[in-house]
Symmetry: C2
Subunit: 281 residues, 2 copies
DNA sequence: AAGGAAGTATCGAACTTCAATACGATCGTG
DNA sequence: CACGATCGTATTGAAGTTCGATACTTCCTT
């Protein structure tokens, strides 16, 4: 997957009306841009970086070219440029891999997001009080992104990393966010979502997801049991802005080996809801 | 700060020998690139993103242009391109701010780094055993980057975020890394480091830093007291590869309000060292 | 009402980028 | 040991993509 239009997107007709550039793929959310203001080489550099999302192993220039959908010359130019800036690094094998500089940018992002700054002390207290993993997620339409994760025990690798995305409709916090939206918008998001289940227990049938969302509207929080990880239960409560638009959610996650579904909900749902309310404006 | 050559870096002489492109600024570590394989527009797009490092607030196109050292037209093109890909977002104020997609890239990076995957369970156990904050940092010559942070109590905002950089010579883990390097290389790193103290207690005098490094060579770990944050003590032990080159370090950090320097060292230095040894190969 | 700043849009020039190609080195295999 | 396949690297002519100045509109501030 990569930019669609292949060859030359902006060629030939110079005096035409503004054409919009098609988005890469996947989630359709970012705004389109007038053709003549669109920088092809920048977009392709992004394609190269994003090519590592599928498999983040070191790649040769040829592999990069294939994965990013550019020719070898472009891979060479882009690769060397990103290398010189630290966004790619040389692997011991000689190939190119993602570079440490990427961490700097995400640090800047985290630092720039006021919600995260406000939420962190609340999350910390919550984790201490609950004794279970506590996450802050950011709502991004069809997916949510975990921005901060405070684990309490040993967790799976992916349960500890910030930046991970999960379909909104399978996650407790995501459903809590959906519960704040008007019906048509929920439908649109469900429509656009990739309906592949993360676990055998994932609820993917729109009707059943809708039932969970209505439940969340009633209760003020949402719950998911083994829908993103077998053996895990989570409750989530949405954080909203002043116009009650969802910004993200607070999650509390625990293990079914230690809790019954009912006990977990009873105990932690109020904590999550209260924390989320404190952060909403 | 941005690319140096201002106007046209690669103009005129087509048939010249390869010239290297000067690095942007700051840390000199990334390799230079042959002029003719260097993508100016990609580099400028990076400049734009990096412009938010100084102050991550939303910026107008004019502010971006100034901060990144490009003209307004370039800021417009780059800004819109990055916006269309989600690496910038529109702020409520109308300006542009960093976008959530940045988190995806750093997630890919974290996921791609085998050390991090191996270290996380070790770190988790260590945090549980120590009951104090436990960090994994990556060695990057003049600076270290915190890649994973497992807090135990309420911490300052910056002590919780991954991606943060700190001068190698002030950090416990950084000094433990330096202790593995040959003398001239240490000198070179100290030379290149920005010697601005992070706190009044920061040791910046090269001779005194060297004393700490020798101490680390003797003990197998390093210690820093209030050098990056007032009231904080930390011990760090280096993780090395098969050739004993430093890859990063394990840090254990606690509060001076709860520990004396000696007690803290005695108790946690062995834990950090053992964990680091387990991860070295 | 004037002045300023912001976002947006346009355009011709030409510099930067493009893609094909070539070269030397390495590697694994027949 | 030679062969073919890939790798990273480097070069080149062509032209398309990018450049930067400029202008327009809108919105605030003074």
């Amino acid at each position: 997957m990569s930019t669609i239009g292949g060859k030359s997107s902006r060629s030939g007709q110079r005096a035409t009306a503004p054409r919009s550039v098609p988005k890469a793929s996947g989630q359709v959310s970012a705004p389109a841009v007038d053709d003549r203001l669109f920088l092809q080489s920048v977009a392709r550099a992004i394609d190269v970086l994003e090519a590592f999302a599928q498999s983040p192993k070191p790649k040769s220039l040829g592999e990069i070219a294939t994965a990013a959908g550019v020719n070898k010359s472009a891979a060479q130019r882009i690769g060397l440029t990103l290398l010189s800036r630290g966004y790619l690094e040389r692997a011991d094998s000689g190939g190119l891999m993602l570079g440490r500089k990427l961490l700097d940018r995400s640090f800047d992002y985290l630092r720039s997001n006021p919600l995260i700054e406000r939420a962190l002390p609340v999350l910390t207290d919550l984790r201490k009080q609950a004794g279970e993993r506590t996450d802050l997620s950011l709502f991004d339409r069809t997916t949510i992104i975990y921005a901060t994760r405070l684990q309490s025990k040993r967790e799976t690798f992916y349960a500890t990393l910030a930046g991970r995305r999960i379909p909104t409709f399978t996650s407790s916090g995501g459903r809590a966010c959906l519960a704040l939206l008007p019906d048509p918008e929920v439908d649109e998001i469900l429509e656009r979502s990739e309906r592949r289940p993360m676990t055998p227990k994932s609820i993917t049938d729109p009707a059943k997801v809708w039932a969970k969302i209505r439940e969340a509207r009633r209760d003020g929080y949402a719950c998911s049991v083994e829908e993103s990880l077998i053996g895990e239960i989570a409750v989530g409560a949405a954080i909203s802005d002043s116009r009650r638009r969802p910004l993200g959610a607070i999650h509390i996650a625990g293990s079914l080996s230690e809790w019954s579904v009912e006990d977990f909900r009873r105990r932690f749902a109020p904590l999550a809801s209260e924390a989320a309310r404190a952060l909403s404006g």
